[in-house]
C-alpha cells in the first residue's frame, strides 16, 4: 500500500492534478439533485465508454473493404468465440445510448437546465446528440448488408436534392460516382476516427462545464432565473444545502449505469447481434430496405409527405430544428424552470414524442408499400367466391393475377396502399368501378392498357359482388330513376 502511495505521489508531484481531481470529485451539489432524475448524463457517458471498448474489439477483426466487410462480419458472428456477443453489445449499446441521450435531453429541457448560465452546456449537448445520430447512421453503413447498401442510396437521393451543391455532395459522401469500396472506407473513417474524436472532445468540454457551473438545482415552481442574481442564489443554495458529489450523489449514478450495462448485456445475450442481413449485392433486388429503429420515423415521414413538399421539408426541416435547439437558451435563457409552470414546454415534448412514436410505429408496418407477394400468397377468402357465377369468378382470378391484391386487401390480407375492397361495391357504382380500373387516379395506376375489355368486365363484375349481405350495392341514381319510369 505504501508503495502505491509513493508511486502516486511521485506522479502527482510532477503532474499536479491530484488536488484538482479531489476537489472535483468532492464538489458540492444541491442535495435534491442526488435524485434518480439526474442519472441519465452519467449513464450516457458509461455507455459511450462501452461503445468505445467494444468498437475497438470489433475493429480488430472487421475488414473495411466493400468486397470483404460482409464476410468479416460473418466471421465475427460464427467463427470467433464471443464475437457475436461483442457485436450484440455494440449494436444494443448504440440503441441504448441514443435512447439515454434523448431522455437526458428531455429531462434537461423539462428541468430548465439549459437556462442561464448553462447555455453553452446545452449547445454542446445538441452537437453531442447530432454526433450520436451520426454514429448510429455510419455504424449502420459499416454493417454493410443490403439495408446498408440501399440506405446509402436513400441518403444520396436526399442529399442530391440540395440545390446547386447536391450532386457534388453525393460524390463527396460516396467517395466516387457509385456506392462501392471508397464509400465504405469513408464511412469507416468517419465512424472510427472523425466522429469519435469529436465526441471525446465535446464530451470533455460538456463535463468541464457541468463541473464549473455546478449541477442544475431542482427546479421549484416560482423560483425565477434572473441573470443578475442567479449565480449568487446558486452559490448560497449549495452553501446552505449542498452535499459532496462523492459519495453523496454518485451512488444513484453508479446503480443506474450498472443497471443499464446489465440491460444491454441481457439484450445482447437473449436477442443477439443485428444482422448482417443479405449480402450487399445490388443485383439481388428481392429486398425491402429498412433503416434501423431510430431512423424509422424519417423513413415513414418520407412516404407521407406530398411530393411537392418533400424536398423543401427535407432540406429546411433539419435546419429549422437545429436553429430552434441552438436558439432555445437564448430565447428562454431566463424565467421559470419548473415544468409545472411551463405548459408549452411539456406539450411540445409530448407532441414530438407522440409524432415520432406514431411515425416509428408506421415505419415498422409500412402500410404504404405494396405487399409484393400478396397476389400469389393470399387466396381470395372463400366467402367472396361462394355463390358467384362464372364471370365473377373469372374476375376474382384477374383480381389476383393482375396483382390488385398487392395494394388492396380482402379479408384483412393483402396490401394497404389502396383502400380495402371488402365493401367496394357499396362505395362505387359499376361505371365508377370501370372508370377507376381503366383510368386509375387517386394514387392508383391506370390499368386500361393492361386489361382487355372482357377482363375489365369480369373484374368489375367480381368487384360489384363485394358488399355486405343485406346492403345493396351503390347504384347510379339517375339510372335507377330511368329504370323506375320504365325508360
Amino acid at each position: 500500500m505504501r508503495f502505491v502511495e509513493k508511486v502516486g505521489s511521485w506522479f502527482d508531484q510532477r503532474l499536479q492534478v491530484g488536488k484538482t481531481v479531489k476537489e472535483t470529485l468532492a464538489h458540492p451539489v444541491p442535495r435534491q439533485t442526488a435524485s434518480w432524475f439526474y442519472v441519465f448524463g452519467s449513464a450516457a457517458l458509461v455507455v459511450f465508454i462501452l461503445q468505445f471498448v467494444t468498437g475497438i474489439l470489433l475493429a480488430i477483426v472487421y475488414v473495411p473493404s466493400a468486397g470483404e466487410a460482409w464476410s468479416s462480419l460473418q466471421t465475427l458472428n460464427y467463427q470467433i468465440s464471443a464475437g457475436w456477443f461483442i457485436r450484440a453489445l455494440h449494436g444494443w449499446g448504440s440503441n441504448f445510448m441514443l435512447a439515454i441521450v434523448l431522455i437526458h435531453m428531455v429531462q434537461v429541457f423539462l428541468f430548465g437546465a439549459y437556462k442561464y448560465p448553462r447555455e453553452l452546456t446545452w449547445i454542446l449537448g445538441v452537437f453531442l446528440l447530432l454526433m450520436t445520430l451520426g454514429m448510429a447512421f455510419t455504424g449502420q453503413v459499416l454493417r454493410f448488408d443490403q439495408d446498408a447498401y440501399w440506405g446509402l442510396g436513400i441518403g444520396s437521393s436526399i442529399a442530391s436534392r440540395i440545390p446547386f451543391v447536391g450532386p457534388a455532395l453525393v460524390s463527396l459522401l460516396l467517395g466516387g460516382p457509385i456506392i462501392a469500396a471508397s464509400t465504405l472506407s469513408r464511412f469507416f473513417t468517419f465512424h472510427v476516427f472523425v466522429v469519435p474524436g469529436l465526441l471525446i472532445g465535446f464530451v470533455v468540454l460538456h463535463l468541464i462545464l457541468v463541473i464549473k457551473l455546478g449541477i442544475n438545482e431542482w427546479p421549484m415552481p416560482g423560483r425565477i432565473v434572473r441573470r443578475a442574481t442567479y449565480l449568487q442564489e446558486y452559490h448560497e443554495l449549495i452553501q446552505r444545502d449542498g452535499v459532496p458529489f462523492l459519495p453523496g450523489a454518485i451512488v444513484k449514478d453508479i446503480f443506474f449505469s450498472a443497471a443499464i450495462l446489465a440491460s444491454i448485456a441481457l439484450c445482447a445475450l437473449l436477442l443477439g447481434p443485428f444482422g448482417p442481413g443479405g449480402q450487399p449485392d445490388p443485383t439481388i433486388i428481392q429486398t425491402a430496405p429498412r433503416p434501423d429503429f431510430f431512423f424509422l420515423w424519417l423513413y415513414a415521414l418520407l412516404s407521407f409527405l406530398p411530393p411537392s413538399m418533400e424536398t423543401p421539408i427535407l432540406l429546411i426541416g433539419p435546419a429549422v430544428a437545429l436553429i430552434v435547439l441552438i436558439g432555445l437558451p437564448f430565447i428562454a435563457g431566463e424565467g421559470e424552470k419548473s415544468w409545472k409552470r411551463r405548459p408549452i414546454a411539456v406539450l411540445a415534448v409530448l407532441l414530438i414524442a407522440v409524432s415520432l412514436g406514431a411515425l416509428t410505429h408506421l415505419g415498422r408496418h409500412t402500410p404504404w408499400s405494396p405487399v409484393m407477394d400478396a397476389w400469389s400468397r393470399e387466396p381470395i377468402p372463400a366467402q367472396y367466391l361462394a355463390g358467384r357465377g362464372a364471370l365473377e369468378r373469372q374476375g376474382a382470378l384477374i383480381f389476383q393475377s393482375k396483382q390488385c391484391r398487392n395494394c388492396h386487401s380482402l379479408g384483412n390480407t393483402g396490401g394497404e396502399r389502396g383502400p380495402a375492397l371488402d365493401q367496394v361495391a357499396v362505395r362505387l357504382t359499376q361505371d365508377q368501378l370501370i372508370r377507376q380500373v381503366i383510368q386509375g387516379g387517386g394514387n392508383m395506376p391506370a390499368y386500361g392498357k393492361n386489361l382487355s375489355p372482357s377482363q375489365t368486365t369480369a373484374l368489375v363484375a367480381f368487384l360489384e359482388t363485394l358488399h355486405p349481405i343485406g346492403q345493396p350495392p351503390a347504384r347510379d341514381a339517375s339510372q335507377t330513376e330511368l329504370h323506375r319510369l320504365g325508360l
Binding site: 437521393s157 447536391g166 450532386p167 457509385i178 450487399p280 408499400s369 405494396p370 396483382q403
Partner: protein, 115 residues
C-alpha cells in the same frame, strides 16, 4: 433485368461493382434502359409482368412499362440510361448512381448545351 460492371471498378469493390438495370426492347433496335433505382429515394424497383408495372418496395412508387410514373411519391418516371447498339451488342452510358438531384442538373446542362 441485365447486370453490368461499373466502369473503372476494382477488386476491392467486390460485388457492389455489379449493377443491375432493366432493359425493355420496344422494337428491333429500339430499347429503353431503366436504372434500378426508384426516382423517389433510390430503392430497387421490381418488374411485375403480370400487371405490367415496376413497383418500389420502400415507399410504394409504381411505374408503367415505359418507365413513366404511375403512382406513389416519385415526382417523375424512372431514370433512363442512354444507349447505342453496335454489332448486335447493347452499350449503355453509365458511371454514376442516378439520384433526383444529379439527373436534374444533368438535364439542365444538356439544355444549356442545346441553346
Amino acid at each position: 433485368m441485365a447486370t453490368f460492371q461499373q466502369p473503372g471498378a476494382d477488386a476491392s469493390d467486390g460485388e457492389t461493382a455489379n449493377i443491375p438495370c432493366w432493359v425493355r426492347r420496344q422494337d428491333g433496335e429500339l430499347f429503353q434502359v431503366f436504372a434500378i433505382n426508384c426516382a423517389h429515394l433510390g430503392c430497387p424497383v421490381r418488374w411485375f409482368p403480370q400487371s405490367n408495372l415496376f413497383m418500389c418496395p420502400c415507399h410504394g412508387g409504381a411505374y408503367y412499362q415505359d418507365g413513366s410514373r404511375a403512382s406513389g411519391p416519385p415526382e417523375r418516371g424512372l431514370f433512363e440510361y442512354r444507349y447505342k447498339v453496335e454489332k448486335g451488342a447493347l452499350f449503355i452510358r453509365t458511371g454514376q448512381l442516378p439520384t433526383p438531384g444529379a439527373q436534374a442538373s444533368l438535364a439542365t446542362r444538356s439544355k444549356s448545351c442545346a441553346s
